[in-house]
């Protein structure tokens, strides 16, 4: 496995001439844009890591006249706050990325679905959006963006739940197929991309795929904005090249007493100290939407797991059995084991249950509850029991 070490970069927040990049993009054919993004190896920055170029290619191939580009700004994964920072500092690049995506897929209309928790950003975002609309008009391109707000529901970060929410329904994930690229928001072909993905796409158009592939590894191209919190002397936003080990990360950001790092938020994986050096942060190792949470030895991993399970129990949409009931069982289960009301072997049953949730849940939420559960229970079993 490739190991690049920890390299700080500054691309996402770098100031660019938006008009120039957009003009360049609009002169390209949609195939050229898609090829560039495919060549860059860019994978979705929300966490799931689907190749962005493929997503655009599929949506572009749809015959429908009406298509949408949706920016997923429902950043709700515990420990992630990079999209807020990006929207706060370089919203114009988000809008620009949407316009480029729109050009690539043949869409004239974009939605930004912003989580309700970030409503305070709205006034400044509207100012930025006005500027963007003017710029687009000057360039002579037809593309407009509308904001839609969330109202406190983590699950709306799941793409089809997000569409349901935009359409005015409960944010319940849909059955797939059909996938968004054929049947997305308002049942039209839709490319839905994370905030950071769109900014990165714009950067790739600016700098070229050839430049971009110089960063990162074979499986995880480029750099990524990390949201770093927990037991660290330097919490905050850092842009790093992909391909470092957790060990290198901890050496930079740890407080000298790090016992575990939760990579990818509540739905991600817990990496214990003994596995720091062998674990690469990226799609070849532990993938992340950017959330990196450090725990030092003063923390109870039972409390961490309990907090996560409490989160999922509340934030599951509740429609499918494995997730709705499974979350409750995992939560109640560890409580009873902790209190001694259930034997410690019951944890084995719960691990099996987590496996079922992983394969049988309707959407990514239920499917990923088992990540944190299993990695914490397997690595910190004694902390859960005693």
């Amino acid at each position: 496995m490739e190991n690049r070490g920890l390299i700080k970069v500054d691309l996402i927040f770098e100031t660019i001439d938006s008009g120039k990049v957009l003009s360049k993009a609009f002169r390209m054919s949609n195939d050229e844009i898609i090829k560039e993004i495919l060549d860059s190896g860019l994978r979705g920055r929300g966490g799931a890591g689907f190749p962005t170029g493929m997503k655009w290619k599929f949506t572009a191939a749809e015959k429908d006249q009406e298509k949408y580009i949706v920016c997923n700004a429902d950043e709700g994964e515990p420990g992630t706050f990079k999209d807020r920072e990006i929207l706060d500092r370089v919203a114009y690049k988000v809008f620009g990325g949407m316009a480029i995506a729109g050009k690539a897929i043949g869409s004239k209309k974009g939605y930004v679905y912003l989580r309700g928790e970030y409503r305070f950003l709205l006034p400044q975002l509207y100012t930025e959006l006005d500027k963007f609309h003017k710029l687009i008009k000057e360039i002579g391109y037809d593309f407009s963006i509308e904001f839609r707000m969330g109202s406190g529901a983590y699950i709306c970060g799941e793409e089809s739940a997000l569409f349901e929410s935009i359409e005015g329904f409960r944010g319940e994930p849909r059955n797939k197929p059909p996938y968004p690229t054929t049947c997305g928001v308002f049942n039209k072909p839709t490319s839905i991309n994370n905030v950071e993905t769109l900014v990165t796409a714009m950067m790739i158009i600016e700098k070229s795929a050839a430049e971009y592939v110089k960063l990162g590894t074979q499986d995880s191209r480029g750099s990524k904005v990390f949201s770093i919190s927990g037991d660290t002397p330097t919490p905050g936003i850092f842009e790093l090249e992909l391909g470092m080990t957790v060990g290198e990360f901890v050496a930079e950001f740890g407080d000298g007493d790090t016992k575990a790092v939760q990579v990818g938020g509540a739905s991600g994986f817990c990496v214990p100290r003994k596995k720091f050096d062998e674990t690469i942060i990226g799609f070849e190792g532990v993938p992340t939407g950017g959330s990196m949470k450090l725990f030092n030895s003063s923390r109870s991993m039972y409390n961490v797991l309990h907090n996560y399970l409490d989160f999922f129990t509340e934030e599951s949409c509740g429609q499918c059995t494995p997730c709705r009931v499974g979350c409750q069982q995992l939560l109640l289960g560890i409580e009873k084991v902790k209190k001694g009301e259930m034997k410690s072997v019951y944890l084995n049953e719960l691990v099996k249950l987590a496996d079922t949730m992983k394969v049988a849940s309707k959407c990514g939420l239920g499917q990923s509850v088992g990540n944190a559960f299993k990695s914490i229970v397997e690595n910190f079993r004694e902390e859960i029991i005693y």
Partner: protein, 154 residues
Amino acid sequence: MYNTGNLVKEMVERHGRNRDSLMPILQDIVGRHNYLTDEAMVEVAKELDISAAEVYGTASFYSFLDTEPRGRYVIRVCKTITCSMKGKNDILGAIEDLLKIKLGETTLDNQFSLLETNCIGWCHKAPAILINDMPYTELTPEKVLDVIKGYMNK
């Protein structure tokens, strides 16, 4: 309880009568009054020609679209992991002591409601709270009291 009056009509004028107008309408009502009364939900249902149970079902899915009476300022204390680790309970306790209400309650003068919420995206500046839409971060029990006192004097 607030009077619905022309509120729903006004919102419908602004956002339309389609199903996808529902969220913006409910959000704007909450933006003004912090919660949805039964009367307001029934009226929205009529305007949009959907059932009141569906309006309630949709609203109750979203934790910010409260259907129980709330005060003028809704304090939401983040309870997710980092805020929890960094002293959320102390913040909560300080607010409870100041406002003389418990979690989930509203002050008698209907000024403040105290709730918990899941991750609000300020983990690097934990602990954090929202008061209506505004985030307050890197709080200490002393600091949060100052913030709330500021609202008391508004």
